[in-house]
């Protein structure tokens, strides 16, 4: 019960296992084993410390031979082991007390158990004996009841009392014994308490000692380890220093070596220098002598030069004098010139002034003139416009008048012809044929036929050739009349095709794409149109020119045809230059030539471009003169007009007029007769009319109502005549 307290405390403190092996209070422990152990530990610890001390001094000498690193490591390991041992032993020492207490407790328990058992036994025995005694006493009571004699009873009671007293005494003794035991136990308990208090004190003391010693040893070990490290460091330092010194020495030796070698080298160089110097000296002397000689020669030359110089100087002085004079002269001239210049300058200024004035004047004039000119130009333009308008109106009027007259004439002619016709057929009984007159068909004023545009021609050509097909040389069609005779439609067509194929570059690409879906001929047409517009070909003539040019070019350049066409070429070339001026003559001239197309083989496609180029060059020239010609073109010729009108007037020939005169007279006679007849006829008719009127009156009388009222109606009277009528 009580030991639990201290034991618990011990247990708690067990954790702080600290004690000193050197100081052995446990030597005084009651337990022999503990004492032995304590002593042994103490001895071990002492040995340990001694050994360590010995080693500590001994090591210094010894360890130097060993590895440098191992020293500190060994020291640490050693310290560690030592401290571990110290701690372990200390813990054991401290716990020894607990163990001792434990075993004491166990012994106590065992003893206690034994005593308890004995006590129980004793008590049981006592109970038994006392029970026996009690039984005896109780049995005697039975006996006592039987006894009647007071003496006996008293005796018995006495004895009984004695027994009881004995029993009680026994019990009391037991109680006393037990109380005694209790008292001893109490004492024991107090003693135990004291003992345990001592134990705890001891424990504490040991702990403290342990703490102290452990601290001390730890410090010592720390110092040792530090010392070891220090030593190691010093050793290392020493080693390094040695190494350093060795290196330094080596360095010094090398330095010395270098020095010696350097001195040697210096000497060597000095020798060489001396040698060089001597050699240089000799050379120097030699050069000096040579140079002195040179100097002498040069001095001689110098003397010569000086003489020449003297001569030259004199010459120059003379020249100088001459020049001075000249200079003076020139100054005089210069001043004169200057004066002249001044004068001229004045004149110039005057002239300038004049000039500016003039300029102003002229400018003003110019201005006025230009304004005049402008005005005139405007007027002229207006005049032109008016003229044009008048021309147009004149034309129109002319045309209208023409038409009116023509119509009138034609009407008259028609009447005349009709009359003629009637006369011929009715009166003369002759067959009449209408005179076939060209002017009858003409309507409107006679004029030059309009030039067709190049494209129209082309179109015609193309259409025609297509229509005609195989008929190659037939080119007498009406519209074809105006084509130059020497150029067949076929050739033209071919040429145009060629041109179309070769000069595609002249056509705009946009147009090409548009042409794709069209018909072939149409396509050609449009292409040619584009090409012509690019080349500047506008009119029919241009086109013919082109075709001719082609043909001529071909003739020129074909060697085979050259001889034949040489004359023609000459003519043609002449005409070519004239063509622009005389368009009317072109067909005539050409007709004269009657040159057939040189060959069926046309120009080579490669040459087309060259030809074109040449043509364009040629075409551009005549174009320049085209403008005034156009104005002139518009004046129509009236040479044929009178002829026309004459023709119109004489639509009936003179013979016929004579015939008419004769016929007139005859007819007049016939007329007279007829008129007489007519008079007779009128007379006749009036008579007839009188007759009818009379008949009517008769009828009226017959038909009137009075007749019916009459006894005898007239009708019946006139029945028979009526019937006859």
């Amino acid at each position: 019960m009580n030991p639990t307290g201290p034991l618990g405390i011990l247990e708690e403190k067990e954790e702080e296992h600290l004690s000193t092996p050197i100081l052995g209070p446990s030597v005084h422990s009651e337990n022999s084993q503990e004492r032995i152990q304590a002593r042994r530990l103490r001895i071990a610890a002492r040995l340990e410390t001694r050994r360590r001390e010995a080693l500590g001094e001994y090591l210094d000498g010894k360890k130097e031979s060993e590895e440098d690193q191992s020293r500190s490591y060994k020291q640490k390991e050693e310290s560690r082991l030592k401290l571990a041992k110290l701690l372990f032993c200390g813990t054991e020492l401290v716990t020894n007390i607990q163990v001792a207490t434990d075993i004491k407790e166990i012994q106590r328990r065992v003893e206690e158990e034994e005593i308890k058992r004995q006590r129980l036994e004793k008590l049981e025995n006592e109970v038994k004996t006392s029970q026996d005694k009690f039984d005896e006493i109780t049995s005697k009571w039975e006996e006592g009841k039987k006894k009647k004699i007071p003496q006996e009873l008293w005796d018995m009671l006495n004895s009984q009392q004695l027994h009881c007293a004995g029993l009680i005494e026994d019990k009391n003794k037991l109680i006393n014994e037990l109380q005694q035991e209790l008292k001893t136990k109490d004492d024991q308990y107090v003693k135990d308490l004291k003992k345990q208090a001592d134990d705890i004190c001891l424990l504490l003391e040991r702990m403290e000692e342990q703490v102290k010693s452990v601290m001390k040893t730890f410090r010592q070990e720390l110092v040792h380890i530090e010392k070891a490290f220090e030593m190691e460091r010093q050793e290392l330092l020493a080693n390094n220093k040695k190494k350093w010194e060795r290196a330094l020495q080596a360095h010094n030796a090398k330095e010395l070596e270098y020095l010696v070698s350097r001195i040697k080298k210096v000497e060597e160089y000095e020798r060489q220098l001396n040698k060089q110097r001597i050699w240089d000296c000799e050379e120097y002397h030699m050069i000096k002598i040579k140079l002195e000689q040179d100097v002498q020669i040069l001095e001689q030359q110098l003397q010569q030069m000086k003489a020449i110089y003297q001569l030259n100087q004199e010459k120059l002085e003379y020249n100088f004098q001459v020049l001075k004079k000249r200079d003076e002269e020139s100054t005089v001239i210069k001043s004169q010139q200057k004066r002249k210049i001044n004068r001229l300058n004045d004149i110039l200024n005057n002239l300038r002034l004049k000039y500016t004035k003039q300029i102003k004047q002229f400018q003003e004039e110019n201005h006025s003139l230009t304004s005049d000119y402008k005005r005139l130009v405007i007027q002229f333009k207006e005049l032109q416009r008016a003229m044009r308008r008048f021309a147009i109106t004149d034309d129109e009027k002319f045309r209208e008048i023409w038409l009116m007259n023509e119509e009138e004439a034609k009407g008259l002619i028609g009447i005349a012809l009709d009359v003629d016709k009637i006369i011929c057929t009715h009166h003369l009984g002759l067959p009449w044929t209408a005179p076939d007159l060209w002017f009858l068909k003409n309507i409107g004023p006679i004029s030059q036929q309009f030039k067709k545009s190049a494209t129209e021609i082309v179109e015609e050509v193309l259409m025609q050739t297509e229509d005609e097909g195989p008929e190659e040389n037939v080119s007498e069609a009406g519209s074809y009349l105006d084509l130059p005779k020497q150029v067949s439609a076929k050739t033209t067509r071919k040429l145009l095709m060629l041109l179309c194929d070769e000069s595609g570059f002249l056509i705009e690409s946009k147009l090409l794409s548009l042409l794709l879906p069209l018909e072939k001929s149409e396509c050609y047409l449009l292409r040619l149109d584009a090409i012509f517009s690019a080349l500047g070909i506008e009119s029919e003539d241009d086109l013919y020119k082109l075709v001719n040019f082609f043909l001529k070019y071909q003739a020129h350049h074909l060697p085979g045809n050259q001889d034949q066409s040489s004359v023609a070429v000459g003519l043609q070339s002449e005409k070519f230059s004239l063509e622009a001026g005389k368009k009317e003559n072109v067909p005539e001239g050409e007709q004269e030539e009657k040159e057939p197309p040189p060959s069926p083989r046309l120009i080579h496609p490669n040459d087309v471009l060259k030809v074109l180029e040449a043509f364009v060059m040629g075409l551009n020239r005549p174009r320049d003169t085209g403008m005034p010609l156009k104005v002139w073109k518009e004046v129509r010729d009236n040479s044929k007009d009178s002829e026309y009108w004459e023709a119109l007037a004489q639509v009936l020939p003179v013979s016929r007029q004579n015939l008419w005169d004769a016929l007139y007279t005859a007819l007049e006679k016939y007329h007279l007769i007829l008129t007489e007849r007519a008079k007779l006829l009128v007379e006749n008719s009036s008579l007839e009319q009188q007759n009818t009127e009379l008949q009517m009156l008769l009828q009226q009388y017959l038909g009137s109502k009075i007749n019916s009222q009459l006894q005898v109606p007239p009708t019946q009277v006139f029945r028979v005549p009526n019937k006859g009528s």
């Binding site: 639990t4 034991l7 500190s72 401290l83 372990f88 001792a100 434990d102 407790e105």
Partner: protein, 498 residues
Amino acid sequence: MQENPTSQATSNHGLSLETNQSPTSVGPATDSTLQPVKTNTVTPLVKSKGLNAANARRMRRIIAEDAEWTLAIVPQLTELCIQHIVKNFQNNPILKQLIPAHQQKVLDHLSPDLPLAVTANLIENENYWRRCCSQRWPVCHVSKHGGSWKRLFFERHLEQLVKHFIPGTTDPAVILDLLPLCGNYVRRLRVDQFLPPVRFPTQPRDGDHQSDSGSEGDMEEPAADHYPLRDLVAGLRHLEELDLVYGVKDCGMNFEWNLFLFTYRDCVSLAATIKACHTLKVFRLTRSKVDDEKARILIRSLLDHPALEELDLSHNLIGDRGVRAAAKLLSHSRLRILNLANNQVRAPGAQSLAHALAHNVNLISLNLRLNCIEDEGGQALAHALQTNKCLTTLHLGGNELSEPTATLLSQVLSVNTTLTSINLSCNRIGLDGGKQLLEGMTDNKTLLEFDLRLSDVAQESEYLIGQALQANREAARQRILSPNQLSPTINGPENPAG
């Protein structure tokens, strides 16, 4: 004459002014001229700092005349505010709203006597709680309380309250009021004293009864109940350790057996308490006269406890039946440490423990010191250890073991590789037993401690065993070092200590 009002005026507002004034008072001529000015200027300045700008001119004049006087003497407004906060902290605790530097200042000046209701959940600062602790207790081992002064304060405070709680006399609210304050911080409750209820009139009669017959305890028990921990423990959310001793300390000459009574009701209430506490890891109930019945009740409540790791029922009166219950607990919990030292365990109890131990995989430490399991129990345990792969520490000191157990243990030593510490001190192993243990030790490479003191073993074999242990220890040290690949120069002497 002039000195008095100024000193009064300045002493109200800090010492710095007062110290500053001493040099000025050297010349009496200056005194008379300066002092009135000072009294006029300094006091309003100190009282209202806002006037600083307005009084700039006057201040400059003062400085011109008195070189020693500076504005630094005047306490800053923040200082004043902090002082005020400190002064009124009890009524108006302002702490969290302050910037850290000011918080620190406030905490430094707070009095440790402030009511816990104010401080408990507001102040986390360790320094403050350190001051509280050192004011109340001269010795404080903060390392035993997880290094937290706050925890230390509350644990000890609560322990003290429970210790001095007298059922029926003290108001239970004293403790329960504290619960919401300390519930978050208390992790361990270590109560080594439970006072019984005081009953003056019956006290002498009790004594009579006790002296006459102790068997009448049943009738008296309801009256002798101690403080029920149920409500308290239920309020402590993080409680991990419960260390109780049902007894009275320092009773002196008032000793009565009745004072050390762990009643049946106490036991039932305690059992329910620990069953409800799921965070409990360590439960200690020592020196409390726990007998078989009570032990069974307690252990039954601990069956399948989710967290319990250590159970300490040492210094009680537990016999074989109680130990059988403990053996059952071994297989129904995750118990790692079991301490049954100084009980009344005999062979049957040890056998049942051995049976449970044979297949246990949790228990690493078993303490059966000062019991009486004798050879039968010892042999059973040794057999169990041949199959057990978990136990590392076994204390069988003072168990009347002898040679047969030693023989079996030597076999165990050569087979088992987990045991690191065995204590067989205070047994009767004998010389032969010692030799056999030595034989077993030669094959063992893992045992680090083997206590054979006072067990009649020959010194020679004990010494040799010690050598073997030393070798094992070295090997273990190397094993610890080698995986870390640390050079042995780094941790030299510290290692064996650890």
